[in-house]
Symmetry: D2
Subunit: 273 residues, 4 copies
Amino acid sequence: MAYSGEPILVEDLLFKPKHSLIDQSLHSTMGATTTNGDGFGIGWYGEGAEPALFKGTEPAWNDRNLREIAGQIRTPLFFAHVRASTGSPVQRSNCHPFRRGRWLWMHNGALRGFHDVRRDLVTAIDPGLFPDLEGSTDSETLFYLALTFGLTDDPLAAVARAVGFVEDVGRAHQVENPVQMTVATTDGESMWIFRYSSERQSRSLFFSTEIDKLRALHPEVEVLYHLGDETRFVVSEPLRDLPGAWNEVPESCAALVRNGADELREFQPISPV
Amino acid sequence: MAYSGEPILVEDLLFKPKHSLIDQSLHSTMGATTTNGDGFGIGWYGEGAEPALFKGTEPAWNDRNLREIAGQIRTPLFFAHVRASTGSPVQRSNCHPFRRGRWLWMHNGALRGFHDVRRDLVTAIDPGLFPDLEGSTDSETLFYLALTFGLTDDPLAAVARAVGFVEDVGRAHQVENPVQMTVATTDGESMWIFRYSSERQSRSLFFSTEIDKLRALHPEVEVLYHLGDETRFVVSEPLRDLPGAWNEVPESCAALVRNGADELREFQPISPV
Amino acid sequence: MAYSGEPILVEDLLFKPKHSLIDQSLHSTMGATTTNGDGFGIGWYGEGAEPALFKGTEPAWNDRNLREIAGQIRTPLFFAHVRASTGSPVQRSNCHPFRRGRWLWMHNGALRGFHDVRRDLVTAIDPGLFPDLEGSTDSETLFYLALTFGLTDDPLAAVARAVGFVEDVGRAHQVENPVQMTVATTDGESMWIFRYSSERQSRSLFFSTEIDKLRALHPEVEVLYHLGDETRFVVSEPLRDLPGAWNEVPESCAALVRNGADELREFQPISPV
Amino acid sequence: MAYSGEPILVEDLLFKPKHSLIDQSLHSTMGATTTNGDGFGIGWYGEGAEPALFKGTEPAWNDRNLREIAGQIRTPLFFAHVRASTGSPVQRSNCHPFRRGRWLWMHNGALRGFHDVRRDLVTAIDPGLFPDLEGSTDSETLFYLALTFGLTDDPLAAVARAVGFVEDVGRAHQVENPVQMTVATTDGESMWIFRYSSERQSRSLFFSTEIDKLRALHPEVEVLYHLGDETRFVVSEPLRDLPGAWNEVPESCAALVRNGADELREFQPISPV
């Protein structure tokens, strides 16, 4: 889940779903009833230039420190992730979101055959970035590849190249359909989201309609008046049964979500060779 | 879940369910897909007179230390519990099983209105036992009340008195149906199990048929020949679709499970006044 | 350690000691080199009426979440505590500071013979407060006794009565010198600190001189110009070699630290009978 | 610390130092008073062909699960390690000992400039081994390099080559004195220990004299009669003031410790080029 808009208490996003577009589904997503119990993380922009991270290896719902700080932190840009491990250890350095400088990154999905291709992927990481790789996940590796291919300059092209590279390496190792991903990344101002899989059957990804349009559609829904005009949510599943509220990112597409008009483009991996 | 029988590797009980009476259900019960993600614990008898405990606050499936020691410990009597918190903090001292001397205790269910009656209950605990109360759960309090009322001398009568006392206190506080419980307790040799609720709608509880009878019923089931004659499992839900394998403990009953013939009796709370 | 003054980043208090009155000593106190490795906690006033808490069971220095949020939280009133366990389990509910409503409480020292007197002490806690007792420490019990004896109305008298009561109970159990304590408590506006022990050999406790007086004494010390006029630190040991900066709370005394003039009074336990 | 000899309860090694050659020093080493509070681990040989591991990120003394299992596990070969982090995160995958197949490895010291040379070192790891690298420490990297250079076939030569390679890479990056190490490794039967540093000022390392010789030296020391003839301890510091009990491994030496006569050899890094 990602939020962008007027500064809001994290608690209102995570633990008071009735007061927001996010309803019980997220409560469930962050909670003990989820199957995604292999760690969680939040990232947000507040004091200082770099985003802050809070991560844990217990189910999010049980983390009392998370509940405490959620009631204390206001932020205009917020990432939250719950992890279902695909094999890597459940430890802080493997929890999303990942950070480098002003950038945050989170990923749902998998680089298939990661155990076999991991060496080829990490050795392609820029030597200047390599020493800061902390964990052992496919997701962090994909982030560092995107950084290597220019994420901070041209996010769309860099992710396309990183994915193209992973597909090349995967296929060289006889991995069918090497990439399955929904990705969200941000520099603290804009947010880029990606929906892609090698087999063109990607996990779902949605972003919320602009609030002013939504108010026109549903003038009776009071909560919409409490949210700023530039509010955006990005989620894996529609969170509330509100016709017109959720736009599905189409298969093999990327979107730039920011103040002003969003942009939606086709996403095509670029083989870096 | 409780096991009694020939010494067996804990790993074979928890993580290799195909080799035992316990199938994928338990795998699921101990795993990340359960809703009982609020801590776990195991207790077993091995070296020394007192049982040993291993408890954790993460989902059991994620605990690598648990997997390591499960492959190293053989025991003839084993308790395992996964906890769904009803409000108390998720911390080691609130995880089951609880221990005192040679005794282990675990409880599914709830003392209703515990927040309100807690003071009256804990002040009834024997002053000599009171200082060792470590956590803040209803389950540990019920254990200490049973100890106060003579658990180590006459388990059936002591639990009846403890439950009678909790019902008296609950009713004095206008709590409807104060007790909902399935309980298992052991001194390392015999195991007593209880199924009771004030409203006579208790959670289910099953124990396994004697293995020799089961072999006669299902001569084609190979796993039955790998288990000793005195093997007993106690579970909340039947774990395998094997007609005749699982005996439900009837409503308001207690059973004594031990080497030789088991005993099943009616369970009736005793008001201690 | 306690801080009161203009809103300040927690990071500046805990992790950038060179920029504050607090030097490397505190860095050490929060760090891996201390013997107080049995958990830590911070409490602060920010959003909302009640203070927030962040506690952990690892050495503070190793807690990356602490470092992250320390860089994000500004507060005018801050408590920090590192714990050296005197026997109670190392778990979140036993870490200081403790909270009730707007109040925070932290304690260094011990109620001697606590194992033996615990039952008598907790049964004296107001039945309306009792259910919220979460942990098993002497320090939280003393807090709840102080609340029982009127902490929120008259902190000085309430603590005197709580201490008097603990001494009465201890002596009835043949405990010599039942109380050893330095305590700090606050309602978010004023702070009360206590130094007392039954044997009149209490741990040390210091509070900082008013900043304007200190500037007059040490016009060359630049850091003093970065701190607001109403800045106050309370510490167990003087943190910097600055003549005139630290006032020792005398044996058997209490101080009220707040905006405006502080007050120092003799502290005498009151037997509640 | 490493132990080899007759099967012994881990508890007797870690928590009952008065009954063994290991006195309060180790108690202190494993305890809260040490500065090595950045995680701990034990490895031992028991059920099955591979050793088992138990690791934690809290101070060892606070880990109740460790105390419980220490009372349940008997083993003839035991490694224990407490970690003082030199920068890598405090997480399970960074705690010693490390394991691969039947082999255990632990390391005190540092590969200097590891942040800068890490990429060159990990890319030299055998591609078949690389995917199993789990953490981000210099110590695990050195283990995997030793495996790459043939640890399981010829431990002395393999470690010499691994160290030679690290020195080559370090010097190419202008790192002065790249290696500082004491290392212990075992296949469950023999134990190899190494003391080396590029600047020839290595941390100390000791192994215990054969028990029968020690009994002849100190016939009055009763504990010596409780230990088997083939008992060996390897420690960083002499643990007890018993003249003749502790043999220092000389600078730049390796020792093979096993049933029968030990062997001590000069250790000289081998540049693998």
